[in-house]
Symmetry: C2
Subunit: 104 residues, 2 copies
């Protein structure tokens, strides 16, 4: 419950949150997309947290149904992975979503 | 030297070789590309080999300058990673390369 509370707090307090792994190219792609859009995402590198990393992945799976990285939240809402985020951008929906939330 | 010989033998004996990691989406993309082209690539999953996995990655780095996965060879020649292979396909160069070697 402690880790679950931590995730809920993190996604509530930061407009854009990415749970990532440093050496994963899909995670790099999502981080680069937000950077290009001028958004300063809050990034948590799961492979830099020792045993807490896999534990956080399990908590994310319980909360969102998604175990994989990258795991993206915008305005507290679960978006999904890299393909989901890139599709939102490709469909012209990402920029409006961010500006509605005064994120970029 | 033993592992180096093993890599050299593997890439010499198999028309298309992919050093991969099972949970890596870039590796999945390259495997799927060859499958769509009807090519039966020889796939080595580095995360299924215990301590030999990281050792093989270091050998690949020594032989090719590339530590990352996927690491792709065609006709014994080092091609590169996912972006390199997809670019060859995109530029219309992958199919001719394979048919020249009677691979597909
Ligand atoms: N379609 C998903 C794929 C996500 C995916 O499979 N991620 C891989 C890494 S690229 C993963 O998390 N594998 C399990 C793990 O690393 O623990 C996305 O676009 O994010
Ligand atoms: N541009 C390269 C990127 C390769 C890359 O960075 N691969 C990552 C996994 S997606 C990697 O091997 N990271 C280090 C490791 O996993 O040991 C490609 O297209 O293959
Ligand atoms: S680990 Fe390769 S794309 Fe994520």
């Amino acid at each position: 419950a402690r880790l679950e509370e931590a995730v809920k707090k993190t996604v509530a307090e930061n407009p854009v949150v990415i749970y990532s792994k440093t050496w994963c190219s899909y995670s790099m792609e999502v981080k680069a997309l937000f950077k290009r859009m001028g958004v300063d995402a809050h990034v948590i590198e799961l492979d830099q947290l020792g045993s807490q990393g896999p534990q956080l992945q399990k908590v994310l799976e319980r909360l969102t149904g998604q175990f994989t990285v990258p795991n993206v939240f915008i305005g507290g809402k679960h978006i999904g992975g890299c393909t989901d985020t890139v599709k939102l951008w490709h469909d012209g929906k990402l920029a409006p979503m961010l500006s509605e939330l005064n994120i970029s």
